[in-house]
């Protein structure tokens, strides 16, 4: 049995900013090695794990896409031993002051993000939120050492240690989207003991937060019949109470909208109901904000499903998730895949005409 908490903590300890995924990819490689038949790395840096099905060849293929890249920052300039930076992925400037980070220079250095006092800023910048361009990273080192060991373009990742809250809740940075990598891993583990006809391609995709580069290229190489994307979705909590947010810890989100094939949605909903896996419809009226946006339009087009793991405080270093929902997502995916042939029987153009 995989120790979910230990796996997550290990994945959170590795950096892997968009375009710089190799540290996290190695950890996922290690976790997937015993669970897959083949592991390869794509030209853009996504990890492809194949677990072969038992059906007659040529077998149909289901792809699971979970992006492994993280948001973070990059050094733009060095001033008196202090680092100025820009963002990789979307970050609200207001959560930055006082955050612990790791600067990936010639070695990894611990640092802290600094908000300079008002009298060192332009008059207009001192009172309100201080823009990212005025913030620094302080490594606690003398300027000569910094000049020698850190260069423009070095990445900066969040370094806050994860915290275990009550009720199987975990808080930390980069839970978006390591929780989905964990869910895919649980799914692969469960499939070890289950018969499945289809080939399963587990993809830890690169660059979701910036370019969707992984999600655009991996399905082209794999050519799956369907794709299941797992990503985080909004959980109800501070500042997040509208229809876009699902109750926290109360079930997997089933994406519903134009990125999602309606027959797949229906099949997943039926499977969840049958297995009594708590689930909630996650409305995505225009787009899902996930790998599915890219996968859907690769080659001739690929039917996609999006599973959402509800997460509070997205894109902050204290993202909070319920371990229960991660397990639910893994279990639901495995059950669906074991029954792929039957579940996908309605995956026809006709399904698009039904309501």
């Amino acid at each position: 049995m995989i120790d979910l908490l230990a796996l997550l903590k290990k994945m959170l300890s590795a950096s892997g900013l968009s375009g710089y995924e190799s540290p996290i990819r190695e950890i996922i490689h290690e976790a997937w090695e015993p669970l897959t038949d083949e592991l390869t790395v794509s030209k853009i840096g996504s990890l492809h794990g194949l677990k072969k099905g038992r059906g007659a060849e040529p077998r149909r293929r289901v792809m699971i896409s979970v992006h492994m890249d993280a948001i973070g920052m990059m050094v733009t300039t060095i001033q008196d031993g202090l680092l100025r930076f820009t963002e990789i992925g979307g970050i609200d400037d207001r959560i930055l002051p006082g955050q612990l980070v790791t600067v990936h220079g010639r070695e990894a250095f611990p640092g802290v993000i600094v908000q300079p006092p008002a009298h060192l800023l332009p008059r207009s910048a001192g009172d309100g939120p201080v823009e990212m361009k005025y913030l620094f990273v302080d490594l606690g080192l003398d300027s000569d050492t910094v000049a020698e060991k850190v260069r423009i373009g070095d990445t900066i990742s969040f370094a806050q240690e994860p915290l275990e809250l009550t009720g199987e809740a975990l808080a930390g940075h980069t839970l978006d989207n390591r929780v989905s990598v964990a869910a895919a891993t649980l799914c692969l583990e469960e499939l070890q003991n289950r018969h499945h006809d289809w080939d399963v391609w587990a993809v830890a995709s690169a660059q979701e937060e910036e370019t969707l580069g992984g999600a655009l290229t991996s399905p082209f190489a794999i050519r799956p019949d369907i794709a299941i994307v797992v990503d985080v979705c909004f959980a109800k909590g501070l500042g997040s109470s509208n229809w876009r947010s699902l109750p926290f810890g109360e079930g997997v989100g089933l994406g519903y909208g134009p990125n999602i094939h309606p027959a797949l949605y229906k099949a997943f909903e039926e499977k969840a109901m049958k297995l009594e896996i708590p689930h909630q419809r996650d409305l995505m009226p225009k787009m899902s904000g996930t790998d599915a946006m890219a996968i859907q339009v690769v080659a001739e087009g690929i039917p996609c499903m999006v599973l959402g793991i509800p997460l509070r405080y997205m894109h902050t270093p204290v993202e909070t998730v319920s371990l229960k929902d991660i397990r639910r997502a893994g279990r639901l995916m495995a059950a669906f895949i074991a029954d792929c042939e039957e579940a996908c029987k309605d995956l026809t153009p006709d399904a698009l005409d039904q309501n």
Binding site: A125, G128, P129, L141, L163, L165, T316
Partner: protein, 366 residues
């Protein structure tokens, strides 16, 4: 904790692994103004074997005395505050999240996205923030009000946390190169320094150590401690901000740095609360010069220390402050230099070893 009975008065104090370990314990402890329990226990444990007299007063100050030997001893009060800035839980909301109030001067911009520890049991929680995806550009130009922030301890916190509980930043102590990185270096650096001075008290003085409470909310502990001790003179040992960062505009020099890291102990000439007795300032400056200890004069201006209350107690007590410079005071993560700490300890110990009643003979003069 081992009973180190080899400690002898007068021996030169220094900063080594055991001092750093003690500072680590002090920084990782929670002692928000008004509930200094945890730090008080660490302090008492650290000094009880060498104290000639030790008591906890009505407000929670630890008052400890070491008597010197011989004639003409100066009665010197040294004060370091045990309390730190932090939070108090004020309300549990229906969604299971907790509203909180700040204790001490905390910039609300330092709060979103921070882990915290709540209550005596140090229960982990987080101050969340709205996902950027749900914010508007206009919204992101405004500060988030503290009343709109919440502490989240998970869905099954139940009644383990209640209004009145205190909380601090969850930052853990670490050494980074030449630096110390921790929460609450203001003023655990002072507390750790005072513990070392107390263990190595010179014979020519009666050392009256006040580990004070409620400094961050109004210098309350220091006032009653000074009354009780009724000393000849007093030194507040604190940590003061180093704003030694570059100006955003390269052409502008930062001439308001308050203090600088790596420049040694900061001797106060004036802050918002105290105009120190110049005889004490000169004494410290001359001691540093003679002993070749680096020092800096803290730029006159705002801020205050326990000296602000002490010097106006009873009929007046000649007072001065010495601080270890530290960047980013009153935030989750402060940075100070080990060398500045060591030099502060050296300066104070050297100066105290040489002090005689002559220093304060006669009238106050500049």
């Amino acid at each position: 904790m081992t009973k180190n009975l080899e400690i002898s008065a007068g021996k030169e104090p220094e900063i080594g692994t055991s001092q750093i370990a003690l500072l680590e314990n002090l920084c990782n402890a929670t002692a928000v103004s008004g509930d200094e329990h945890e730090v008080r226990q660490i302090v008492i444990e650290a000094i009880k074997l060498v104290a000639d007299d030790l008591k906890v007063d009505a407000l929670g100050n630890v008052l400890a005395t070491r008597f010197g030997r011989g004639e003409n001893r100066v009665r010197v009060m040294l004060a370091a505050h045990m309390d730190e800035i932090g939070f108090m839980i004020v309300k549990k909301h229906e969604d299971g999240l907790f509203e909180f109030e700040r204790i001490g001067g905390i910039d609300e911009r330092q709060l979103p996205g921070k882990p915290v520890l709540v209550g005596r049991e140090h229960l982990p929680g987080v101050i969340g923030a709205k996902p950027i995806h749900m914010t508007t550009t206009e919204e992101r130009k405004k500060k988030i009000d503290v009343s709109a922030m919440r502490i989240d301890l998970g869905p099954e916190i139940g009644d383990k946390v209640k209004p009145g509980d205190r909380a601090t930043f969850a930052t853990r102590f670490t050494m980074v190169g030449p630096s110390i990185r921790a929460k609450a270096l203001d003023d655990r650096l002072g507390v750790a320094t005072l513990i070392e001075l107390f263990k190595h008290a010179p014979d020519n003085i009666d050392l009256l150590a006040a580990f004070t409470v409620q400094e961050e909310v109004g210098l309350r502990g220091a006032r009653v401690a000074a009354y009780t001790f009724d000393p000849d003179m007093a030194i507040a040992i604190d940590s003061t901000p180093a704003y030694d960062l570059p100006h955003w505009d390269d052409d502008d020099e930062n001439d308001r740095y308050n203090t600088r890291l790596d420049a040694g102990p900061a001797i106060y000439v004036m802050d918002r609360a105290t105009i120190p007795d110049r005889r004490l300032v000169n004494w410290l400056v001359e001691t540093a010069a003679q002993a070749d200890i680096p020092y800096q004069l803290r730029q006159p201006g705002g801020g205050g220390t326990d000296a602000g209350a002490i010097h106006k107690t009873r009929s007046g007590i000649p007072s001065v402050s010495v601080s270890i410079p530290s960047r980013y005071a009153h935030t989750a993560v402060c940075i100070a230099r080990q060398e500045d700490w060591a030099n502060t300890l050296r300066l104070l110990h050297t100066a105290l070893s040489q002090v005689t009643p002559d220093l304060l003979a006669g009238e106050r003069r500049d």
